[in-house]
Symmetry: C2
Subunit: 246 residues, 2 copies
DNA sequence: GGTTTTATTCGACAATTGTCGAAAGAGCGT
DNA sequence: ACGCTCTTTCGACAATTGTCGAATAAAACC
């Protein structure tokens, strides 16, 4: 397979992922905005490419139209990918690992993407967690629940980053931990910082001081909770539904 | 991960795949129809579930509306999955392997899905192929180009079916073959019959008589072509664009 | 503070969608 | 031939979308 064919395949799969997510979203405008920001493209550039007024893009993203047509969604998705391609395709390429990842990896319990972000305080509330380190607060676009021991034993550095799903701006939740030190070590060596780390299985005051120290240095929000893992996942999955009701 | 969570994950991923494909399609109505037929659900059942008139579904599928809104697409996708779930989820389950498949497998050169079918005669014309065996003609919803030797050496029976992408009603194109016998043998032992088999690298009169015989017995259309493989893939990928122009 | 860039709001209006319901067609079983 | 199931067509109309362009706001830069 030529390189161009491989790139075309990735682009096609990414287009489907994007279009699917936008179409299924309760707020398609927000989902459109998420992807445009992911690609680091200004509204003015996007509207210029599509030959429409800049306000057209803003109107869609702001939710003025509750049910945009498939045609405009398709046009915007294609435009984002084309603009990125014309810039060298680095954003598309950065999703390569995600598109080819095996989500059935034994280390991963659950993974979920949000189209609109969750705040750290909300996360802490939902999963009844102690905040061990506040860190630099980022919006969280998803979460991954990981079996801590399996992840560390089985995943190479390259594979470790697959835990990040579509965005590093997500909560990594490590379960079956004893003190919480190993996950922070693993994160340090991969040099990819998640939006937050949750140590599951112990309370905040049981977290190893070295773990807290590493979180402070790397400015990563660190939480600890003993909530039942299945219940935790259920609550986090329902987050998108809560958002609509609020 | 509980079984219900695993099922929920598959369903979510399938929903995205479906919604993405429909949204990106030049003819979303045809794509909607394809998925409804894949799920073996009547328009009357779907409209009943959605509490709309049966003509609503027919109007959409027939293309009366060129750019349906994301809301109706989302509703239809959710309804298809929910109706299948209430019947035991066998259609959703049947896609499990496809969702978790690793499309980067070395044996696969290219794979592509169509939302509307190609006829066998059209395929033969596009790739300048000799028809070795007519077989029972089926609409073709995609193609997979396979390195014949690698596929046979590296793929187990279980993995072999991953070549089928989203539908067995596709053309399997085997390249780097000498006589064409091995691919037909491999297909026989997996007991999954593709919509068509293409032997790439030899002309029709060079195909091993045993291969032709097996194709006749299994009633599988068998073609042979010496077209350049990259050009062949390019032509087949462009098929969706041709369809629109016609 | 001024300028530039980027984004948002909103009135307006032509075009299209979402949907109903009536009528008709096709296929199948009796 | 008749009845049933499934699908399609299409007129109609209220509701919504697609988009422009003007005005305004916010952020970034100098």
């Amino acid at each position: 397979m030529t390189k161009d064919m491989a790139n075309e395949n990735i682009r096609q799969r990414l287009a489907e992922k994007m279009a699917g997510e936008i179409t299924l979203s309760e707020k398609p405008g927000e989902a459109l905005k998420k992807w445009r920001l992911n690609f680091d493209i200004a509204q003015t550039d996007l509207s210029g490419y599509l030959k429409v007024s800049p306000s057209v893009i803003s109107d869609y993203e702001s939710g003025r139209r509750k049910s945009p047509g498939t045609l405009i969604v398709s046009k915007i998705v294609d435009a984002l990918l084309e603009i990125d391609t014309s810039k060298g395709g680095q954003k598309i390429h950065s999703y390569e690992g995600m598109l080819y990842a095996n989500p059935g990896a034994k280390a991963v319990y659950a993974t979920y993407e949000y189209t609109y972000p969750m705040q750290l305080a909300k996360l802490a509330t939902l999963i009844e967690a102690d905040v061990v380190n506040k860190g630099v607060e980022k919006p969280l676009y998803g979460f991954t629940v990981v079996d801590s021991k399996k992840a560390i034993l089985e995943l190479s550095s390259h594979e470790f980053q697959k835990l990040y799903g579509w965005s590093t701006e997500r909560a990594l939740i490590f379960t079956k931990v004893s003190t919480g030190k190993s996950p922070l070590v693993a994160i340090r060596v991969t040099n990819l910082k998640p939006g937050a780390v949750v140590i599951h299985g112990i309370r905040g005051n049981q977290v190893d001081p070295m773990a807290k120290k590493m979180a402070e240095i790397d400015r990563i929000p660190l939480l600890a909770t003993t909530m039942d893992i299945d219940e935790l996942v259920e609550v986090l999955k329902k987050y998108s539904q809560y958002h609509v009701i609020e």
